[in-house]
Amino acid sequence: MVKRIIVGAHYGLRDWIAQRATGVYMALYTVLFGVRVLMLPDYSHASWQALFSGGCMAFATFLFFLSLFYHAWIGVRDIFMDYIKPTGLRLALHLIVAFLLVGYAGWAAQILWRLAA
């Protein structure tokens, strides 16, 4: 019998599911994006802007970015947990990544909804 003491903050399953849910959404979006790009009438600046200026596409793209940043958070955090042993340094890196990703989300929103304005 394995002697084991159960420890941890119990975020494992939630993150495991989130990593897969965001991955599935991004995979579906990638296929949709590929199809939409192939269907563009031409590869001009105007068509490229038109592709993202529709409400549905802007919404789907913003969700893609949120999925990407959440997915990146879990992935990068796991990499740090595997390789960065000093707790203080790891915590500092976690904070930097978290702040960066929240900032990126704001930037993505600005890029997308500037078009509609």
């Binding site: 084991r4 995979a27 600046h45 993202f52 992935g75 990068v76 890029i111």
Partner: protein, 128 residues
Amino acid sequence: MSETTVRKRPKHLALHQIRQPIPAIVSILHRISGAGLFLMLPLLLWLFDRSLGSATAYDAYREVVAHPLVKLVLFGLLWAYLHHFCAGIRFLLLDLHVGTDLQAGRRSAWAVLVVSLALTFVIGVALW
């Protein structure tokens, strides 16, 4: 965490001496490609921002992506995205217990490597 495992087991983790099986290579490339994509997010977001901006911004975008070095980096990131995409789908299927035996695992790992490289080549040539 030291209390969680009581037994001491021998370890052989000399990475340069171990011949990694193909699924292990796909797995570590999944991690490396993910890390690379994360590190390059500022560049990608900046390019996306410029490409959707005003005519002046769009010209700046065109100028930057025309640079051979930038093209090379974007080519690498294209591969990173496609590898991460293909390997991710493989991992999702493994989660669903699809193709978990040794032969199927090796075949799907090879498929990930080949398909992602082929897609990178096709899309890369189309965009170049």
